[in-house]
Symmetry: D2
Subunit: 411 residues, 4 copies
């Protein structure tokens, strides 16, 4: 037992006052995101006081044996091989979409039209037109009391959520700079194979949609304002990669005979932009930064202070209070593990940190509460669409010699 502050009079998590109803969840997709979402749905009700208890009703995938195995592994009560059948189930009230981006729109719109709530992974869609259709469906469904949310899970990191709170309270004053990078390195090796993530028809874009979508969302979420325009450059450093089939046949073949295919998405995208207030922003999304595993880094500077964050140290937030006397001022490392911090009321004593997957537990909590309370969904499909518009402007600017390209307003 490491540290225990609990006493007879203080129980960390009070017992629920009455047995809650359930929210039947049906999830499509069971790869990395499916595993992470499963963890979120399984855990949220055991940690937080929820108005509805999530039930892992059914999981859906095309391969019967694989989806059955995934159901067993991740704790789902049933398995479907057709997402339309999943939507049709009576024990499912929420469809959780964890598939590649090219199927988001079709599944989400069908689910909403069938009266289900929807949680959809980001990026919301592979292009603006699909995202717009999704928003229309969400708006129609909202009038019927349905909730549609997009999975910008990093908003649910306590340090990020607390940073938003500090900015909203005015602790930074007028903003001057936002700089955001999301650096990974899993494509540094030119021999890394050509997966669906490297094909435009499935993934929509490369680092831009996968990583850039997160930092665009976070920059705007934290700043509390939107980008008005961007100027971008992008690059595909390794233009051909081994086909997966060739890779698996590699034992018998020589390197010369490995079949290669074209990479049709970006390896990296870097862009600058302006926020509505006039603050300057810079962004970099790449999968080619050797040694950076998950370096989502944010820094925001204002007239009264600054904040900095690094996802590789997700329990920490750096805060500089510029109103302090200069002699004692400095970036302080806040361990965002105090009971006063967002989401922390239900977790461990100070200093006992959380991990990546907890963002999905928090997301599950927020989705359940939004549904139960009839609150406006945050982040909504409209938020997802707006990010999609930024990504589209980035691609347009990159194609047009980096010229500053406005982001259409959401209205």
């Amino acid at each position: 037992m490491a540290r225990s502050q609990e006493t007879e009079t203080h129980t960390p998590a009070p017992p629920p006052r009455q047995a809650p109803g359930t929210l039947g969840v049906g999830m499509v997709g069971y790869a990395f995101m499916g595993a992470a979402h499963s963890q979120g749905w399984r855990t949220a009700g055991h940690v937080f006081d929820l108005p509805l208890r999530p039930a892992l009703a059914a999981i859906c995938g095309r391969d019967r044996a694989a989806v059955d195995a995934a159901a067993a592994r991740h704790g789902w009560a049933a398995a479907e091989t057709d997402w339309r059948a999943l939507i049709a189930r009576d024990d499912v009230q929420l469809i959780d979409i964890c598939t590649p981006g090219d199927s988001h729109a079709e599944i989400a719109i069908a689910a909403l039209e069938a009266g289900k709530h929807v949680l959809c992974e980001k990026p919301l869609a592979n292009n603006v037109a699909e995202a717009e259709a999704m928003v229309r469906a969400a708006e129609a469904a909202a009038a019927r009391g349905q909730v549609a949310m997009v999975g910008f899970n990093y908003r649910k990191v306590p340090a990020i959520s607390y940073a938003r709170q500090l900015i909203a309270e005015g602790r930074l004053g007028p903003l001057r700079h936002v700089r955001a990078t999301y650096l990974q390195d899993w494509l540094v090796d030119p021999a890394s194979p050509l997966t669906w993530r490297l094909k435009r028809e499935h993934a929509g874009s490369g680092a831009l949609g996968d990583l850039g979508a997160h930092i665009v969302d976070l920059a705007q979420y934290l700043a509390g304002e939107l980008l008005t325009g961007v100027s971008a450059v992008s690059e595909t450093f390794v233009r051909e990669r081994p086909l997966l089939a060739g890779a698996s046949a590699g034992l018998s073949g020589s390197a010369d005979t490995v079949e290669r295919g074209e990479v049709t998405v970006d390896d990296a995208a870097i862009f600058t932009g302006r926020l509505a207030s006039g603050a300057l922003a810079s962004f970099e999304a790449t999968r080619m930064a050797a040694g950076r595993k998950n370096a989502l880094r944010l820094e925001i500077n204002g007239e009264l202070g600054s904040l900095a964050f690094d996802l590789e140290r997700l329990n920490e937030l750096s805060f500089h209070d510029h109103t302090e006397p200069a002699a004692t001022a400095g970036f302080r490392r806040i361990l965002v593990t105090e009971p006063e911090h967002p989401y922390l009321e239900a977790w461990w004593p100070p200093g006992h940190g959380l991990g990546y997957e907890h963002t999905f537990v928090h997301q599950a909590r927020d989705v359940v509460r939004t549904i139960a309370e009839g609150a406006p969904p945050v982040p909504s499909f409209a938020d997802g669409l707006q990010v999609q518009r930024v990504l589209a402007a980035v691609e347009e600017s990159a194609a047009k010699n980096s010229v500053h390209t406005p982001v259409p307003s959401s209205s």
Copy 2:
């Protein structure tokens, strides 16, 4: 979706080959440790390929309403108010002891005698005599195929486990220094109340048993050798604290009239020691280090290299390879999130860190595998007893003017 390396040919966690049997768990205690262990038992089977699936059979506590609420909250199928009844249940094969130290011996011995496996929180007992009795019971039970393990969960931090592996491989060469601190600050405020943790009759000792037990175990575990003797000093800085009752009545009373009681354990203990190889070790356990929330810090120096770790950044391990050319040598920050790292084969892609509670998931995995495979338990009750002997030597030295006090060998 942050990062996804999964491809059609690479599934992060392969499905179990056949439905496993179950291991019925009965847990005593439901405060901080109870919540953490519950999370471990609930999650392990959904992440790791286990030979037995843990079943949260029953939870036990003295207060009926409270234990029922805890069962509902943490996902236990039943609730008992008498630990003897828990042990007697047919659906329970393992007793998990999460109570204060003064009840460990009685419960553990009864459970072992009843044919159950046991996982017991640390410190193993409140004194050496109790721990010895527990070891005798464990040895007798081992002959019947039962497992008894002690909950030194920090061995299950992947970075710690990997550090052990590097040392065992000889990467540090002959060891020279081990320095270990475990710094917290929750007793800095003299107005913090007098809980059971501050009374010797319940807690055995203060920072020494709560925090010192961890760093003594880790130092020996990592070094792969035992302490031969120690020299210690300890202190209780705040000798009286408000009684809990007085604290809760505080609204109507003045500060002068708050009733106070005596603190009968240490606030801090610092000690030096020698390992069997002659390496020097230093230890500090305190709850009075303002600003340090969970600063379990370890550094080990050998002739060929060094390792450093900080629990507040538990996904990182610092490694200095002294065989590198001096110009490029330096402590490298290893993100212990690669699939090659211990426990990581089942988790997220590189850089997507774990948290404190995952130590309990890993512990659950290891307990289940030990039971299923009939392997020797690690850490065993004998390991817990040996740590208890070190703690006793620390207390003896502190009472005898810090004179070097041998640690009796375990045989």
Copy 3:
């Protein structure tokens, strides 16, 4: 005495074999840069084995009393009030120019034409035309054996110099990304006064020339290749500031009556670019990043490794070797204080770090050696011109809606 490895057979700095000749230095300007350069000239010959011993012959400034005081303070043998008189002195062989950028060209060209060597602070000039004229003068002088160098002193930080060495050796492989920021905060306060540095006619530009020039030079120096084009955005957040006169009269006047003047340079400039090899680069120069005092940060990612540097921790270099096994790979913190590291052969034992001003000691060493050895000057006026062309392209792009703007080649 902290650490001493010296022995009877190992003297840290061997004595000079013979009395060297002298190099008479005449310095124009005595503010911040003048003080720093003085420190460099005074110290270099006492630390390094130099072929010529620098003599602080004369200092020059317009105000007689002030320049006399500066001479006494900084150790100069004489003081002049007219830079032409300084150039004319027989005891001066090198003119060191530490004035604002608007006087660089005139002084440097006159000095070169008078047969003197020249060291000129950066940015080389306030515009490309002036810089081109300076390069022409330098080329003509080179034919006469004269040296002309530009003061990119940060190349002389041992960590930077060593980073260049590692890259030149191929330790990073083909480069993918360079990211460079130079963040300061001394203009965050809108009440900070309107100095010459905020007027275009004296300073040329704002953060761009002052800070951006450094990171453009360093990015290209480290990468070993040039920028081919840039896309930029810049901003002046605080467009009017108190006049200095008004500020000094502030005791009697109210805040309302403080006279204000227009800021005619940028507060911040951010830009992206491409290097000749196709690597992507990003840059940010700002004086509005609250809490960042001197955060010149560089990171370079290649196929085989990465390097990172932060001027606020100038004795450290972070190096990730991507050819290491993944399980032990990570950014290592190299303390660049080993005798094998550049410039370190003459300094203190490992771990005894250097400071900001040592860049000027190293610069003095390199200038003296270049003169004595007749080696090509590095960095040369041509290097300074090339940086000026990048800055001009940045300004052009910022004025043209961020469109990608080529950097003319130097030939």
Copy 4:
């Protein structure tokens, strides 16, 4: 030019109001410490406004050729081969002792008796008896207006000096813990030769006197109180090392025939102690911590806050203000480079850090001012004696099975 805040109305270092007199310095020893002290004496008057300008009058060493070379290299006007002749010089008012500890007492006492001021490197002497004799000589000399100071140069690191100021102001409240380590690694290699520093007759002790003296002094200086007793363990891990002669003959001899000699000092010493207030302290001094080059690390915890420092990042001070709300509290990294910080009024703009050698510039400043102002010397020979008594108590405790050993009071 990196950053410039200077304006016409703000000159960083005001000119001296009148030409100061001089203080003739005579230095004994010219190895590592001699080089560092020379840098201090040469520079102090050019940076700080001093009442007396230090003159590097004469340097002294036994070897004529070597001392002449050292004089030329380090800027001394004359060279002596007999320290008695140095003391006798009329142009010398201060004797600066940079020799091994076994000659400190004789030289210092002779210098004081000859009417000279004295600055003596630490540790003050090789044993308590010598140090007591030195204090007696210093007291007698003080009555004649002479100054005797000991070279605990790390007190002059601005971050350390500022930490002392914060503690003196009560920002930490009552102290609970001091932990101090000084880790180096230059003896890790068993093949490192047997220098005078490894022989008791010259060096007095090993890591204890060389490194431990610093951290004992700093702990007491920062806390503002003295150690009352200690409990210690020390070790010599490598008991024989190659003789220097054998090492230099190594090219022709095989490893087997290298002559070895006995190491007669400690490689490492670790000890605990109590301060007068009851705060606990721990210390570790070692030259066997692979990868730690100059890791003098201090942390002090009090009821209201904590401070932490690492000499490898000497421009930084970590400060935790425990009176802050928990949600925004955390260790802040103060860059101790603001004009408000100690010694910084004369140096560079914020963020432009200092290095190791600046401690000697600051020491020179303080010595000169103490002499000119007739102020009590700090740190005095009495301070040096008190540290010597702590070191003696450490050795006594280590020899007596670590038993707690009182430190005699200084009176």
